[in-house]
Symmetry: C2
Subunit: 408 residues, 2 copies
Amino acid sequence: MILLRNIGLLVTCRPDSGQNNLHAIPHASLVWSAGRIVWAGPDDQVPATLGTLVMEDAGGRMVVPGLVDCHTHLAFGGWRADEFARRVRGESYAEIARSGGGILSTVRATRAAGEAVLAARADEMLTRMMALGVTTVEAKSGYGLTVADELMLLRVYQQLAARGPVRVVPTVLGAHTVPPEFASDRAGYLRLLTEELLPRVAAMELARYCDAFVEQGAFTVEEARQVFRAASSLGMRAKLHADQLTSSGGAELAADVGAVSADHLEHVSDAGIAAMAAAGVVAVSLPIASLYLRQPPLPARKLLDAGVPVAVATDFNPGSAPSYHLPLAMTLACTTQGMTPAEALKGATIVAARAIGEEANIGSLEEGKAADFAVIDAPDVDHWLYHFRPNACVRTVIGGRTVWRGSE
Amino acid sequence: MILLRNIGLLVTCRPDSGQNNLHAIPHASLVWSAGRIVWAGPDDQVPATLGTLVMEDAGGRMVVPGLVDCHTHLAFGGWRADEFARRVRGESYAEIARSGGGILSTVRATRAAGEAVLAARADEMLTRMMALGVTTVEAKSGYGLTVADELMLLRVYQQLAARGPVRVVPTVLGAHTVPPEFASDRAGYLRLLTEELLPRVAAMELARYCDAFVEQGAFTVEEARQVFRAASSLGMRAKLHADQLTSSGGAELAADVGAVSADHLEHVSDAGIAAMAAAGVVAVSLPIASLYLRQPPLPARKLLDAGVPVAVATDFNPGSAPSYHLPLAMTLACTTQGMTPAEALKGATIVAARAIGEEANIGSLEEGKAADFAVIDAPDVDHWLYHFRPNACVRTVIGGRTVWRGSE
């Protein structure tokens, strides 16, 4: 049993309260055993009944729950820096996609890379994310777009999840875009997804969630509905890329199919917000993508005021969000969307955990949950997210094991 | 004499070309001696006449000129994280200033901190900036606002400049805001600045430039003109905080007084742009401040198209820009202002050097200039500024001496 004492501020992020209440405990201790939290509370109230403890010292620093990046496209081949220069000169994402760039460019590079290269690259990214305090990562396929290549991406995630230490939650995103082979046979691609890919993914238990990109140029609401129907019958809940570039009914569909989350939402309608609130769908804000694509910010205040929980994630991918820096996304959620630092931290911990159905296991520092946490060099959450630094995380712990330590 | 060979891409940023031409040399070498560059060119063309060389290897990485942060408020007491949470909820900078927050809050904390604490804090910031590839930092006073306290801040910069290794260029910003002691005697404060502070700063050679915050709630164009007239007679050129929150004639004034730079410019008028172009004033873009204050982006394309060189800097300060991350400012200059990665890099090197009158000495990698450079883990500039990471700099060299090395 290990006791971490002298925590300047233990930010538990317990969910049993308002969005702005972090349940933070000053001068605190955290006790864990066999990877699980046994006790969390003030330094001077550690129960004697806990028995013999190995003592560690947090040096007065802040401890927060391990960050949960609940929306990434972790494994991909190549990069798309060339498109970045085109976009900053004013070309739209849709224009670049039509000229053979965009998602399909990464699909070509991903198919060419092969499983070993994809696994090595994704593993390196996980290591870098871990240094920022990230302990759980949702990871989507969607750059394969054949049965074999989608399964390859999901096997990469399976392998990374098994190896650890970062927890990986896989999502199948065969409905990312229609691949060139099916350009003139959309119905055929949908049959491939619903009759071949999804059943095989389910049989091999390669994904927990099924995602679809509902957007002009990607999939219609009705096409996505077919995909989610098949996924649901196979035991996979829906997640959606919704209302990112246009208001296209994605939020409404998410509510309708009981999705665990609807992500992006830069152009969500009021009706979509109301439907999400009624259905209990989590909104996932992806402010790095909004920044890189010059989209309006997600209307976080409207969503929160309507009772929709708002998670914050990176959307890490080689096109629209080429950064895995989750604390940057959290600071941007404050500066561009009007989320408070407390809301942004909850959004990247307990609410993000809910967006991947893991809220019983991770996302807050409470008895019985996994001992996943980050030690942050800041006196409080406001200061951390306000004073943006390359990396304020000085130690990352997953399942009670220290997996990263900074130089200070 | 030292030879750094196997540079994947040597980005010289030579100024004798268009804003988008970086004069980058693939497979290059860089040779320096006694802190100065002796030769830069392709690996296979190193002149035999250079004699005996100590060989180092860049591992195929990119080398860029040391970054120049040409607008910071480096030394200050306290922080203002509390105001960040207020601002994200919608309070304006002006409202916070009126309620006793803003600059005056930092003035109180700075006066209370004392010279030793201010120097230690600023020194730590310089060390962290250096790790990002920053080799020169412009540093403003402006949080003292008494003769004694402004001189104290400038002595801190003098001490840091003397100690090195980061080059520090000091600017006196007594005209930052009217201090509470002179709230009902603006003319008295202007006399203090022009008749006491500036002459003493000049006599002790404590500042190269004189800055003023031209804005509603700070100083009028006519008041700033008085300050610049006094500074000019003492040999100090003008720099301006211009048109940040409102269009207030700052750019026109900068042109009129022959300022070396006009900074912020989120609300610059077309007439102001034309005047700056005609007078050769450098525009300094501060996209981190625009982000944190939710200001519109500086119209970089308009300025560049009008022939105004645009530098990029952090504006590092505890209120409106609490981050010293210059590569973040460069990425934001691309994503929010439509600058190309090449323009952003020139903006943070050779154009930034011009904004502090140092373009003959630093800002590009050319024979005779200081051997100040950063080794970047990226194949090219597009990739570096597109794939935002905590820190892509793996080695920083100032005056030929390696002052920082990353873990990889």
